[in-house]
């Protein structure tokens, strides 16, 4: 550690350090590039903290295991990349309907299928929202630096615990494998949220009866509160039902408890937006190129700025709309063929021209490519 308290840390390592600071005590996973270091370091560190690490037979099992670990009261996480993320989708839906807090890290690589195992991509943006079937809540955060990975994985746990829902931590190979300086925080300085527990007697506990805030208190298995957990649509007791009214109410509550609280966790960065006529919207690794591009364009007297969502789901509709009110042109730069672009266009097209800058060759978009696409000099 240097005099200012900084250390050279890898993105994946920061993810584990942050998760441990957040209180992660259970990890189940199946190693896959470029996320493997997360499993490796978790395996090394969890036992020393009284936690448990288990390598499962595959990603279906990994996702199932963290749901079990969380039901038993532990803060639980898994980490994977595209192919594994696909396999986890069914059980992510199970966690959503059974309201089990958990964190799923996806360090994105080139796809589809096994694709480009060691190369960065951002092709799983839509999958992070719509990967599992049925209407369901979706929270996804996407960091762009090692420091932010450390700090926002804590927020991912907090959101999972608070809203009782799976949270996707959407990294990319650039951020996961990059090493840069990072400052560790004193655990006492980190704000932690734990799931809400029942205050009633066990025999009075109705497991899926929500409070005013739409979230039911959650008892851990083994604490004497007995209840039923099912992926089938259920009533407040947790037992299956086909009742139309109850079904409609449940699905709407699951979605609303997240969507109606978006102002509580709308994380984003604005860079030189005040007078910007051209706004680049970028996230994760690409946003670093976009920031350099903004500086280059400013030197050419082009009024450019950057809007960078960190909360990528739910979509930051209010903020993007505000950006579009002042921008003439909006460029969405991403390492896919235009996924986040679709959402930006939906909201911003009435006020601005929305363009896409895309790349799927396994390399990070460069600042020069962004500058050129916008019409500046290279």
């Amino acid at each position: 550690m240097n005099k200012k308290g900084y250390k050279l840390v890898q993105g994946n390592e920061a993810c584990v350090e942050g998760a441990l600071a957040a209180g992660m005590r259970f990890f189940a996973g199946y190693p896959i590039t470029p996320s493997t270091e997360i499993a490796e370091i978790s395996a090394e560190k969890l036992p020393t903290l009284g936690g448990r690490f288990i390598q499962m037979e595959d990603e279906l099992g990994s996702m199932a295991a963290i749901i079990g670990g969380s039901l038993a009261g532990k803060k639980a996480m898994t980490a994977t990349s595209g192919p594994g993320f696909s396999l986890m989708q069914e059980n992510i839906g199970y966690a959503a309907i059974t309201e089990v807090p958990c964190v799923v890290v996806n360090v994105q690589r080139g796809g589809p299928s096994t694709g480009l195992p060691t190369s960065p991509a951002q092709g799983d943006v839509m999958q992070a929202k719509w990967g599992t079937h049925g209407d369901h809540p979706a929270i996804a955060l996407t960091p762009n630096s090692v420091q932010e990975t450390y700090e926002y994985i804590v927020k991912a746990f907090n959101l999972a615990e608070k809203y009782r829902t799976p949270v996707v931590f959407l990294m990319d190979e650039t951020v996961g494998h990059m090493r840069e300086k990072m400052a560790f925080k004193d655990v006492s300085e980190i704000e932690l949220i734990d799931r809400k527990k029942p205050t009633c007697k066990p025999e009075e506990y109705v497991a899926y009866r929500p409070d005013e805030d739409m979230i039911p208190p959650m008892a851990s298995f083994g604490e004497g509160y007995r209840y039923h957990v099912s992926g089938l649509t259920h009533d407040e007791t947790g037992f299956p039902t086909n009742n139309n009214e109850i079904s409609e109410k449940l699905v709407k509550r699951l979605v609303d408890k997240v969507d109606k609280n978006i102002d509580e966790f709308a994380y984003f960065e604005e860079y030189k937006l005040e007078d910007a006529e051209i706004v680049i919207i970028a996230y994760g690794g690409v946003s670093r190129s976009a920031k350099s591009a903004v500086d280059q364009l400013r030197k050419q007297n082009i009024k450019a700025g950057l809007f960078r969502p960190i909360t990528i789901w739910p979509f930051l509709e209010k903020q993007v709309n505000k950006v579009s009110l002042n921008a003439k042109e909006i460029y969405v730069a991403e390492m896919n063929l235009g996924q986040y672009f679709l959402e930006v266009e939906r909201v911003a097209c009435k006020n601005s021209n929305v363009h896409k800058i895309t790349k799927v060759n396994g390399e990070l978009i460069t600042p020069e490519e962004i500058v050129q696409a916008i019409g500046g000099n290279k």
Partner: protein, 178 residues
Amino acid sequence: MKKQEIRLSGSGGQGVILAAIILANAGVEQGLNAIQTQSYGPEARGGASKAEVILSNDEINYPKITKANILLSLTQKAYDKYNSSLEEKGILIIDESVKLSGDETFKVYSLPILRTAQEKFETQMVANIISLGAIYELMGEETIDKDIMIRSITERVPPHTVQKNTDAFEEGIRLARG
């Protein structure tokens, strides 16, 4: 200090990524902004391997190198692939086995890195640290203190190889001095 953009290239397994990590780590310990990235193929050995380090007093946004000041190439394949990324008057450090076309504009240091590793240290495994010594020498000692470099090596190589690796680092400095 001037922003340093250093690219290390070789064949997978030669340890260029570790050398880059040691250098970036020393940069942070020195109080600089440092960033280290890499690219490699899916195979564990062989294939092209490339690691990059940027050292700067300023914030580093785009994490990759556009034009390198220093390029290390331990193999012909790596040199052929990456020589165009070196700036015109940049420092080129190559293993003596790498052949040049002769019309390069770079400051060329053709050093017996792989041979020295084998003959003096009886292992190819220190070729990366010999290279690191050469890079350190040619980067200019004012960028990072030598004792910080030594500490960074000590922290990041297997404990039983510390002496061998610090000796290899010194050897790399000597080779670069010529």
